[in-house]
């Protein structure tokens, strides 16, 4: 007869096997329709054993400038979102029940509304004869319509609108995790409210800030619909370039090379910000 200990290990192994069987269908789906196709695409970039496509992506001024422009857009969107989101998250973290409910509704309703609906609405609002320009002209504030659409301004407005909740919610969550007695204690120890905020509350909320920044930067880098519709061809993102290469030129290897560059940049930035987050978390504990 086996000892109880051996039996326990057999039971534990059976349990692990059972749990793993639960994961198999999902892992199959991810393997067959995510990992494999993506890796296959990436492999296409070096088809024929040549780095020619990467050289083209790295040396041709057009592609380099698109990549830089994408980075610039992602950075600006992240910065604007942070500036707008932090005060809102802070306000939400101290709001009463009604304020919180209304604020969450205002955040989540656009969040769940189709990006197309929102982009369409911005077209209506920002166009030469759009709601905003017309109102400003009717009130006599301007004579020539402001260029709000089909340029960088339009793209930034549209993207910030789509991504803002991704910044507010993590910051809000990390603010909620801070014991409200901590800033109170700092004030009790003689710090003015703003210093208590700077020295205690803000550093403790950094994990949420960096989580939000990482997510927004990475998501904006791959954005496609909003810049395509609101940029009017004047703002070109890498993803639009990739689409064009596949759709119009059927140049799969080059699209694959661009995809590789985009993916590597995305993962690198995500890992980098993740590392910074962990550092700041260590510092706060």
């Amino acid at each position: 007869m086996l000892s109880p200990g051996l039996n326990r290990r057999v039971i534990a192994r059976r349990r692990e096997r059972g749990l793993f069987l639960l994961a198999v269908p999902a892992l199959l789906l991810l393997g067959v329709l995510f990992a494999w196709p993506v890796l296959r695409l990436l492999a296409m970039s070096v088809e024929g054993g040549t780095l020619e496509h990467f050289r083209k992506a790295a040396l041709d001024g057009l592609y380099v400038s698109v990549l830089l422009e994408s980075m610039k857009v992602a950075g600006m969107v992240t910065a604007i979102c942070l500036v707008l989101a932090y005060p809102v998250a802070f306000w939400l973290s101290r709001a009463g029940r009604l304020g919180l409910a209304l604020g969450m509704f205002a955040l989540l309703l656009p969040f769940w509304t189709s990006v197309l609906v929102r982009t369409y609405a911005w077209l209506v609002l920002l166009g030469r004869n759009g709601v905003i320009n017309r109102a400003l002209r009717d009130w006599g504030w301007i004579e020539v319509p402001l260029p709000l659409l089909h340029n960088m301004t339009g793209v930034l407005i549209g993207m910030v609108h789509v991504l803002l909740p991704y910044m507010v919610l993590p910051i809000y969550a990390s603010l909620l995790r801070i014991d409200p007695d901590l800033p109170r204690a700092a004030e009790g120890l003689g710090a003015p409210a703003w210093r208590a905020f700077l020295r205690v509350t803000f550093p403790l909320s950094l994990p949420g800030v960096s989580a939000g920044c990482a997510l927004i930067f990475v998501l904006s880098l791959g954005f496609f619909i909003t810049p395509a519709l609101l940029g009017g061809g004047r703002v070109i993102m890498v993803s639009m370039l990739i689409e064009q290469q596949v759709r119009e030129f059927l140049n799969w290897p080059f699209a694959a090379a661009l995809s590789t560059v985009l993916l590597v940049a995305t993962l690198a930035i995500y890992a980098l910000i993740g590392r910074l987050t962990r550092g700041s978390r260590l510092a706060t504990h």
Partner: protein
């Protein structure tokens, strides 16, 4: 005295700022309401008069209705798949002591991080070879890949917050594993499950980039809207937008009723 006043002044500024941001978030959703009721054929604001003609046109146009129904169909299958695969996966990721489980956790979240355009053209290549371009169920399966991480994140969060002593208690009281999961665990995960299903449905219903590549000639609602925005911009799309906003509001209300707060956890984690 002075101090409290200054602080409340700061609070007022903060409140005004927050209100302005909320207005910025809601403004685009509000503006489509009057336009959808416009009597003018072109985009005009404020509308010269009011009518239901654009709703009428949406309902009378078989191509709009067909696209809507196809999107509902795709989103439903996507939800069923994402839930059927994602909920068991979440159990594995939370409960297993297998050392590689943390790596798998990361891999599962990857479809959120990897730019959609990359996944789209990657799948385009595979689907073209399998002659699945244009098949609604093919699109639904692809959407399930995108919805899976949301389901896993939400259900895992629910499972981590679940007190496992409850399962022990149930086992001690005589319940078998399937009955423990069905009677004790899943009912308590309901908020997470409801939110996960809602999220899967909406994420598929709104998805455009993958659909642009995989749906071929058969239109989904987002694709039809995209084309409409590029081509004509008549207020029909405003009517469609209003219907979508109302749908989301109702669903949001229902989920917050049954899904107590679980929705926000997806984005906060």
């Amino acid at each position: 005295m002075r101090r409290t006043r200054r602080r409340s002044a700061g609070n007022i500024v903060l409140g005004i700022f927050a209100a302005a941001v909320f207005a910025f978030l809601l403004l685009p959703l509000l503006v489509v309401f009057p336009i959808s009721l416009s009597s003018a054929a072109y985009l005009q604001f404020p509308p010269p008069g009011y009518s239901w003609q654009w709703y009428q046109r949406y309902l009378d146009d078989p191509s709009w209705i067909e696209a809507t129904l196809r999107s509902v169909q795709v989103a439903t299958l996507c939800t069923v798949l994402a839930m059927a695969l994602g909920v068991p996966l979440a159990f594995f990721l939370v409960r297993s002591r297998f050392p590689g489980v943390r790596v798998l956790d990361r891999v599962t979240a990857a479809p959120i991080i990897v730019p959609t355009i990359i996944l789209s053209i990657a799948l385009y290549g595979v689907f073209a070879r399998l002659q699945l371009i244009g098949a609604w169920y093919g699109l639904a399966v692809a959407h399930a890949v995108l919805a899976l991480p949301f389901v896993v994140i939400l259900v895992s969060a629910g499972l981590r917050g679940f007190d496992e002593a409850q399962e022990q208690a149930a086992a001690g009281l005589g319940a078998t594993w399937p009955r423990i999961i069905w009677r004790v665990t899943l009912p308590q995960l309901r908020p997470s499950l409801v939110s996960a299903a809602f999220l899967s449905f909406i994420s598929s219903f709104d998805e455009l980039v993958v659909a642009m590549f995989l749906s071929g000639a058969s239109m989904t609602l987002p694709k039809k809207m995209f084309d409409n925005i590029l081509m004509e911009i008549d207020p029909t799309i405003a009517a469609v937008s209003v219907l979508q906003i109302l749908l989301v509001s109702v669903a949001l209300g229902l989920t917050s009723l049954f899904g107590r707060g679980a929705l926000t956890t997806t984005i906060t984690r």
